[in-house]
Symmetry: C2
Subunit: 133 residues, 2 copies
DNA sequence: GGCGAGGTTTACGTTCACGTAAGCCCCGAC
DNA sequence: GTCGGGGCTTACGTGAACGTAAACCTCGCC
């Protein structure tokens, strides 16, 4: 299938990150670009993983938590006991995310309400100004 | 109404944080406990604010972003231009949260799928073991 | 009256997730 | 040939969000 490999710069442009960030993620074993004479080349899998990494970060997960989750998405040389552990922690993360989902719904409603209140207050001030004019 | 004031220790127990954390939030002007002869006493407002702070943190917001949001929830001496700015950034945060809400829904579905795949794989291994036995 | 528990300030230490700078290699252009 | 551009490693710096230690005060209690 001749995987389309891209350089670190193309990767950075595509995902809006710095080379330092990609090398850092690699050092933490979150991505595994192909190394050819000292240079890095990123394939489809690396792009998929980076996408998941950035998404995980937006949800407030640490890189270590994300690394554990990535093991689940990656069907490389699975060991049974290892996979069991991965799935167990994945269940925990899933529970976290479901809790966060509900909380987020509540927070969004409350924030909308507060914004509406604030705007109402601003309008009342405007009205006062017009009346006293 | 004789507001029920609680000590720093009670506050810590109620929200599972350390005294250091509460003092730190105070130094960053996120909460404003009453000071009586060198001691801190927390009221209803402080508890409400701390709840919002901890929730904001779970969503990945920085303390500074949270501080700005808190201004919206707090109707103390509002200035018009100030409130306008607060509401503007609140709209941004709201957009962030709505994006995150949608992303989270997708991520949850994908994670559930991956967990199911992992469990299916584990079962297939179990079956192989039985068959080869 | 001493002392332990709980509060306070000040200040340096720590972890995470990178930023930034120094120094080196290699390659294509001028 | 050299020179700039891009990539590499190594290593120290940084901001956020606290942890932790030192040194103090004060209150209730035996």
């Amino acid at each position: 299938m001749s995987e389309r490999l891209i350089t670190i710069r193309e990767m950075c442009d595509e995902f809006d990150v710095t080379p330092r960030t990609l090398r850092f993620y690699e050092s933490r074993e979150l991505i595994f670009p192909l190394r050819r004479d000292m240079n890095r080349f990123y394939g489809r899998s690396d792009r998929a993983r980076l996408k998941l990494i950035l998404r995980g970060k937006r949800f407030g997960f640490s890189l270590e938590e994300i690394r554990q989750l990535l093991e689940l998405y990656d069907p490389t040389e699975r060991n049974v006991t290892q996979t069991r552990a991965t799935i167990a922690t994945a269940h925990d993360r899933l529970a976290d995310m479901e809790r966060q989902y509900d909380e987020l719904a509540t927070a969004i409603l409350e924030l909308r309400h507060q914004i509406a209140e604030g705007e109402k207050w601003l309008n009342s001030i405007q009205t006062d100004a017009r009346q006293t004019a």
